[in-house]
Amino acid sequence: MIKITRTPAIVAVFDDDDTLKDAIRLSNDKGYKILDCFTPFPVHGLERLLDLKYSRLGYAAFAFACLGFLIALSMMSYMLAVDWPINYGGKPTWPLASFIPIMFELSVLVGSIGMVVTYMWVCGLSPGVEPVIYEIRATDDRFVLLIEEGSIGDNIRNDMIAMKAEAVRNDDYITHNFPGPVPIRLK
């Protein structure tokens, strides 16, 4: 059963990535809890400010690539050496060197597909997923910061206005405990 959590939050909308960064710095200094941040493009430097961990998707890619490599090696070995060995003019029936191109190709193929599917899964991206949108222009030119309201909502609101937030409003930050994509309307 998927559990949906709604956290009361302050939504601050900025019109520039530098003012957003300033607001995040201020929030970090004052100890506000930043829930999420929505930007139209990957603003560099935010991951450090928000203390986001370096993604482990690289390990997933490597594991899938190894799987592809093993699939290719075992498939070709079984087919050429075990199941139906053919004598091509006395050449070896287990020609490892000839396997290299296909082992490489299948490593890349399985590695990329595996990594992209893992990425979609952990980001909750899938056809049919309804996005939770706090600010419709967050994919255009607005930078959105969500801060947990708690009992200090007024302080946060005033600080965000002082940090040149274009709009500050209250909204519920919606999360769910399912690790993958949830194809239901959350908002």
């Binding site: 560099h44 193929l109 990329s112």
Partner: protein, 515 residues
């Protein structure tokens, strides 16, 4: 992110973030123009004619082609290698240039990747048709079957090709689509009609632009670039193995893999330029695909064209130095035999013509670039024709020497693939953002903030005086050091600079932008 002021701005006209969204999305949201409809109609007709010729071949057999027992491979394999090569520029732009942090790629990668996908589709048609019984094409796959099961021969370069090209197509589509998701979300949030919103909502997979997602997105792009780079080299290497692993004089050389890869990138960039020069004009994207972009691509054309020229010379040298009679004959015959015109067309188009780009004026002349890319496309087609047909047509046994000329069916199939390519490209250009919106926004500040405005001049700010920019920057630097105390007191100014250099691990060492 700091960028040197002596680099030309990659975006001109000083757009805001929303201007970028607007400029790129509007062409997809308006009704198709008359020119688009006309182009689309012609493309579809040409494509239909191509499919008719394919149907004719399949019905009556390969005998409808000009191939004979001596020249078993001709136009079809030439076209196959040519189209695969066209595709390689897309991967070079999206993957290799990403690894090298070449930011000018950001406004051309989307359309170049789309070209990759469409070109590979066109290329894949040819081996399938050449099988003669295309409905048995799945026999190349190692599927369990009731013939034993009998498996394909994994020692064959032709089978490696099957795996290489299908992997290449799949990974290119993955790379392209992963990058497309955020832009589809932009289109979704802009859409006014319910239907449009639902369609883009479905295809944007629920993207919101959360920093957590962007964080992973960047890593996924980087890793896909990392695996695509050796992949693209492997694909054309394996295509060249189709020839190099044989014992035909003229094919049996170890130089083939790097030579083919360089040639592929060469022709691919030419095709990207041919299409982008038209697309930027028709769709009004001159702000994002600037003359600086075209110039950078022209430089790559000169580089890869020279590599190809070097490869031609090396081949000739090795044919002489190896003192193998058959090899020597094959090369003399290429240049002075009955197909001399194909060989010298190739040399003129591929080796001579890109050298014009050593002149800065010509490199920045859009009409000249466009004409030259057409020559490169023709030249690279001739290169494959020369390699394939001239090596085959005079084989070891003079009694079986033959000549080859294509029939209308072969020409029809080739022309038909242009129809297929342009149909797909026109659909892409009309319904999807041709420029990666998010990636252009990413470089907007870096490319504009460090440029002195006085150095930008001319029609639509297309020109940038590097020398003037350098002089202004140097003067400003001296002014800053002289007024050091003064500028430190200026709090507001200092904040802005800190924000601008946020990415630098240590701004003190790397230096702050002066302007």
């Amino acid at each position: 992110m700091h960028e040197s002021p002596i680099r030309e701005p990659l975006i001109v006209g000083n757009p805001s973030y929303t201007d970028i969204t607007h400029d790129i999305c509007v062409p997809t949201e308006t009704r198709p123009s008359k020119y688009w409809l006309a182009g689309f109609a012609v493309s579809v007709l040409v494509m239909m004619y191509g499919f008719f010729c394919i149907g004719y071949t399949v019905t009556y057999g390969i005998g409808t082609w000009g191939v004979n027992k001596t020249i078993g491979w001709a136009w079809d394999i030439t076209n196959f290698v040519w189209w695969i090569g066209i595709g390689h520029a897309g991967t070079l732009i999206s993957a290799i240039l990403l690894i090298f942090r070449q930011e000018w790629r950001n406004s051309i990668n989307r359309s170049a990747e789309a070209m990759t996908i469409f070109a590979v589709l066109c290329a894949a048609l040819f081996p399938i048709i050449h099988m003669g019984r295309p409905w048995n094409a799945f026999w190349v796959l190692p599927l369990p079957n009731d013939l034993g099961p009998l498996w394909p021969n994994f020692n064959s370069a032709l089978l490696w090709d099957v795996f290489a090209i299908s992997t290449y197509l799949t990974v290119s589509v993955l790379f392209w689509y992963t990058g497309l998701i955020p832009d589809l979300a932009t289109l979704r949030d802009r859409s006014k009609s319910k239907l449009r919103k639902n369609i883009f909502s479905f295809f944007s997979f629920g993207w919101t632009g959360s920093m957590r997602h962007w964080n992973r997105f960047e890593l996924v792009s980087l890793i896909l670039a990392g695996v695509s780079t050796p992949l693209v080299l492997s694909v054309h290497t394996i295509v060249s193995f189709d020839f190099a692993t044989s014992i035909i004089p003229g094919w049996h050389t170890t130089i083939f893999p790097p030579y083919f890869v360089a040639g592929a990138i060469f022709s691919g960039f030419a095709m990207v330029l041919t299409l982008m020069i038209i697309a930027r004009k028709v769709m009004g994207l001159e702000k994002y695909i600037t003359v600086a972009h075209l110039e950078a691509m022209a430089k790559i054309i000169t580089l890869t064209g020279s590599m190809v020229g070097l490869a031609y010379a090396t081949e000739f040298f090795m044919a002489w130095y190896g003192q193998n009679d058959y090899e020597g004959f094959a090369f003399i015959n290429r240049a002075f035999g009955p197909y001399w015109w194909a060989y010298w067309s190739m040399i003129t188009c591929n080796v001579v013509s890109p050298q014009f780009f050593w002149f800065g004026k010509l490199r920045r002349n859009i009409n000249f670039i466009w004409c030259l890319t057409i020559f490169v496309n023709i030249g690279m087609w001739f290169e494959r024709f020369v390699i394939i047909v001239t090596s085959l047509h005079r084989d070891f046994l003079p009694s079986s020497w033959a000549m080859y000329s294509p029939t209308w069916v072969e020409m029809g199939i080739y022309i038909g693939t242009f129809g297929l390519f342009f149909t797909l490209f026109l659909l892409f250009a009309k319904y999807l953002p041709v420029i990666a919106i998010a990636e252009v926004k990413l470089i907007l500040k870096a490319t504009l903030t460090s440029k002195p405005k006085e150095a930008i001049y001319g029609y639509q700010d297309q020109n940038y005086d590097i020398h003037k920019a350098y002089a202004i920057t140097q003067a400003a630097k001296i002014a800053v050091t002289q007024n050091d105390d003064h500028s430190q007191n200026d709090d507001h100014h200092d904040d802005e600079r800190n924000a601008a250099t946020d990415d630098n691990a240590n701004p003190e060492i790397l230096g702050k932008p002066v302007l």
